[in-house]
């Protein structure tokens, strides 16, 4: 009898320990993702410059958004974050979108070397809603958006006696006539995507899966969560050719229905997955020759452009997230060099201009590293609830042709990032 009790006790303890171990492991695996459906999607880099005012070629971004749920309509509540900088009032063209002071000459100044007015960083957001029917894929140009009438399924109701006739199922007036009834159908009714607020535009798109039946609107924490997938296709035209850079939107999966501040989305490993503690970027060092160019002489070299955004944002107070990105750069000799740089709302820069203005002297330069490829580990460091973790994407230019790819990631961020919704 005693032995039986001891065995039972041991088994019980073992089961408790096993449950604990498994339970403890699960949160550690919850990271952001770029290849799974999720409840929050982030497109770190959206570029629009259809007149090539700032880019070397006319550019637009095609946004792709899909619902993988096979039975119910999903709603995405989205925010365009405008990270454009603008010339100050002292400039010849105050308010003009700029990349740096050289784009903002003072009135009457024609010399390219200045003097210049300042180029003031900015941050603002606009939000909109998209309803996506089961299994539906959607796409739109960032520069033009998608007007309500242009959605593929704009009608909330169709007449039972005239299936081609749209109607309003919430109206008390029967517009179908005869014995017809206005039947509710899965639709994009209530959706509208505005164009980016400026052209040129550089910034971020974030979408949060909302419950379409919730009043007031609230993030979807039900069983049909994690139904959104997305991608971006940045297209540059050099008639008659096209250059494409594609990446998957970064997803944050919903984990548990947690009673929290209704206006907040917490990336804490309990309600939503946490952001990674380290982003891993594998790249060809800047200024290296194209390793696949058979003809060699035509090679103009390789550069990689990195975009980073903070995981958290306060859309209510219009307070962008910010953090410091620490970079550890390894070459093939296992040599390690490091640098750091502030990420304030939105960071986009050629790798070899992160630590210096002279590309060939950078720790990201082939001239300095001496090997073709490197591994850069990026760690976000910040104290605010909007700036612990980072998300990002890389675009590499090889002989004038670009590729986009998602960063890889490792480890959970110990801090909690919060997205505050108006």
């Amino acid at each position: 009898m005693v032995n039986t009790r001891r065995i039972a006790s041991a088994v019980r303890a073992g089961l408790v320990l096993g449950a604990c171990l498994l339970g403890c492991v699960s949160p550690a695996r919850a990271l952001t993702t770029s290849d799974k459906p999720a409840s929050i999607l982030v497109w770190p880099k959206i570029i629009v410059d259809t007149n090539s005012a700032l880019q070397s070629r006319p550019t637009d971004t095609i946004i792709e958004l899909g619902n993988v749920n096979t039975s119910s309509v999903k709603q995405a509540h989205c925010f365009y974050i405008n990270a454009n900088s603008h010339c100050s009032e002292a400039a010849a063209e105050p308010g003009k979108v700029c990349l740096g002071p050289s784009d903002c000459p003072l009135p009457g100044v024609t010399a390219p070397t200045g003097p210049n007015a300042s180029c003031v960083p900015g941050w603002s957001e606009i939000d909109f809603d998209v309803k996506i029917t089961p299994e539906q894929p959607l796409q739109w140009r960032a520069s033009t958006g998608l007007a309500r009438k242009d959605f593929p399924l704009p009608d909330a109701g169709l007449c039972t006696n005239h299936p081609d006739q749209s109607c309003n199922p919430s109206s008390s007036v029967n517009t179908c006539g005869g014995a017809g009834v206005c039947a509710v159908v899965p639709s994009n009714a209530g959706s509208g995507v505005p164009p980016t607020p400026e052209d040129p535009f550089v910034g971020t798109l974030k979408c949060i899966q909302f419950d379409p039946n919730s009043n007031p609107p609230a993030p979807d924490q039900g069983s049909g969560h994690n139904a959104l997938i997305g991608a971006a296709l940045i297209e540059e035209t050099t008639t008659p050719s096209v250059d494409l850079q594609r990446y998957n939107a970064v997803g944050v999966t919903h984990l548990n229905d947690v009673e929290s501040n209704p206006g907040q989305v917490q990336l804490d490993g309990t309600q939503y997955a946490t952001c990674a503690s380290t982003l891993i970027l594998n790249h060809i060092f800047d200024n290296a020759p194209d390793p696949l160019d058979s003809e060699g002489a035509s090679s103009t070299g390789v550069t990689t452009d990195l975009t980073l955004v903070p995981c958290g944002d306060d859309f209510l107070r219009q307070d962008p997230g910010n953090a410091t990105a620490q970079y550890l750069v390894f070459n093939e000799f296992e040599q390690r060099l490091s640098t750091s740089r502030k990420v304030d709302c939105f960071f986009e820069r050629q790798l070899s201009l992160i630590d210096t203005n002279t590309s060939t002297r950078s720790i990201f330069s082939f001239n300095v590293q001496g090997t073709l490829v490197g591994q850069t580990r990026i760690r976000g460091v910040g104290g605010a609830s909007t700036g612990h973790g980072l998300l990002g994407v890389a675009l590499t230019d090889i002989n004038g042709s670009g590729v986009g790819y998602n960063l890889q990631q490792s480890g959970n961020n110990s801090g909690i990032d919060i997205i505050t919704i108006p």
Binding site: G18, Q136, P137, E235, T239, N282, E332, Y405
Partner: protein, 371 residues
Amino acid sequence: MGVSKRNPWLSGLGVLLAVLVVSGGLARADVTSDTPGSIVIFPKVIADGTRDTLIQLTNTSNTSTSAHCWYFDATNNCQPNDFSVDLTAQQPIYWRVSTGRSTGDASGGNFLGNVPKRINFQGELKCVQVDGSDAPTMGNSLKGEALLETVGTSDTIATGQVSEYNAIAIQAIANPVPHCLNNPGVVCATDGDCPSGDLCSITLSLDDHTYNACPRDLVITHYAEGASDIYTGATVHNELTLVPCTEDIEHDRPTDPNTSVPVVAQFRVVNEAEFGPLSGAIPFTCWLNIGLDDVRLGGIYDHNTAGTFVKTRIPTDPGVPGVGLLGVLEEFHTLSGGKAGTAAADLHMVGDRPGPPGGDTITLPQTTGSK
């Protein structure tokens, strides 16, 4: 009449089992393209004179490790060809598929390995993290990228167009244990530990117990075939590459088409107006690389049928072993008279295929682990 009495210990056991099941479900991590793993798969590798591929492989840990890799040549029934590379702590390495790379080469790196060159090659590359004895190990520290570039000047796509995708990584949960090939319940160290005539073999079980299981469905949004790009007006062509999760390298399956059991890639297509699903299916044994205008798909992707923009779902039956799939999509946008713009994308992965009864396996040749 007897009255059954509730046993509190059993009730507690039930609760704990439920917790175990739930926690276990949460604890599983899926196959991914954005985290390091112990098996790294490059579904699309081309070195055929028109296109070439740059492979990047990186050790993300602070200790040195090794990778045992196999090229599967789809131009030759996926004949495997293996090699090994060693990586120091945090080391990134690369090689060009058409030229290979060897220790002590003149490219300025610290490369430790002997990667054979592949010419007229189309197929898959798979690398398994191994320890110093060449035995598979659960380091979960390998990641990779493939850069596809069109080379030369006389090709149809034109020079300089590039695509890149992240290699697909499968994380290990436990170290795989060798067992007798025909007696799976018998653990072994050498052939002598197995019944007469049987071989001691290493099977990597992608079952959520030893390694993470492959996805149940693959999903991606993309243009329909022949559709016009909504910004550039370019005509779009898509190329989808799929590889099976299950591979029996020990028995030369799928190398031998006579003994290989084909997997069936099923396609379910829904367009923006929720038209569909249109469906098609193509069986294959080791490597499927098709344009989505392939006649076997019966025109389901034709823009005249499917519209401009679609979502493809490639489902598998999670209860059937050995039918898991992985893949990448590459799209080509062409304007009249211009060179094509290309971009590759990792497919989204939905659900998983735990085993048994489902799951997938990679059976390594007997020489693995015998260094």
